[in-house]
Symmetry: C2
Subunit: 72 residues, 2 copies
DNA sequence: TCAAAAAGTAAAATATATATTACAATATAA
DNA sequence: TTATATTGTAATATATATTTTACTTTTTGA
C-alpha cells in the first residue's frame, strides 16, 4: 500500500530565526540531529520523524501544528 | 551525534475509537499505511514520520499536539 | 573589502520506518 | 457457545531518514 502523495511543508527556518536568532547548527545540537539533517528539513527535502519534530517544537516553543502541515 | 532519549507517546487509539469507532484497518487505509504499521504506532513501538502523523491528525480531526507528545 | 561564520549541498554508509506475509490471541455479534 | 472481525505480534525485505565527511556558496561583521 502506498502513501498518499501529500507533501509536508514547514516553517522551521522562520521560527528558528525568531527564536533568539538561533543558527541551524545550534538548533540541530539542541534537537540532537546533525546540521545537515536540520538543513534538509528546513528545505522540505524530506519527511522527519515525529520525535525530531517534537524536539524542534519544544526548543522553538511553537506548536507542532504551527510548524508542520500538509500541502495539497 | 545521538538523538535524545525522549520517547514519543500518542493517543491515536483513543482518538480513533472516538472517531466513528474506526478500526485500525480502516484508519490505516485512510492514512495510506498498513494495519501493522498503525498497530505499532498505537502501541508506541516506534517513531512515525511527520507525514503519517499529519495524515492521522487530518483523518481523526485532532491536532498533532493533542495526539503526540514527548514523555520525560 | 575581506575573513570568518553560517548555510547549502552531495555521496556513501548506517539506522530505522514501513511493507509484506503470516499466524495467534482477543473481542464481538449471532 | 461458535463463527467472524479485529487486534497483537513476528520475521524478512525494502524504502528512506539520518549520519558522516567534505566541499562550495552565501551572509555577516569588523
Amino acid at each position: 500500500m502506498k502513501l498518499k502523495e501529500s507533501i509536508v511543508k514547514n516553517k522551521v527556518k522562520v521560527a528558528r530565526i525568531e527564536k533568539n536568532n538561533l543558527t541551524q547548527g545550534e538548533l540541530a545540537k539542541l534537537v540532537g540531529v546533525t546540521r545537515q539533517t536540520m538543513n534538509l528539513i528546513e528545505a522540505n527535502k524530506y519527511n522527519p520523524t515525529i520525535r525530531v519534530c517534537l524536539l524542534i517544537s519544544k526548543h522553538l516553543e511553537r506548536p507542532l501544528d504551527e510548524l508542520f502541515w500538509l500541502e495539497e
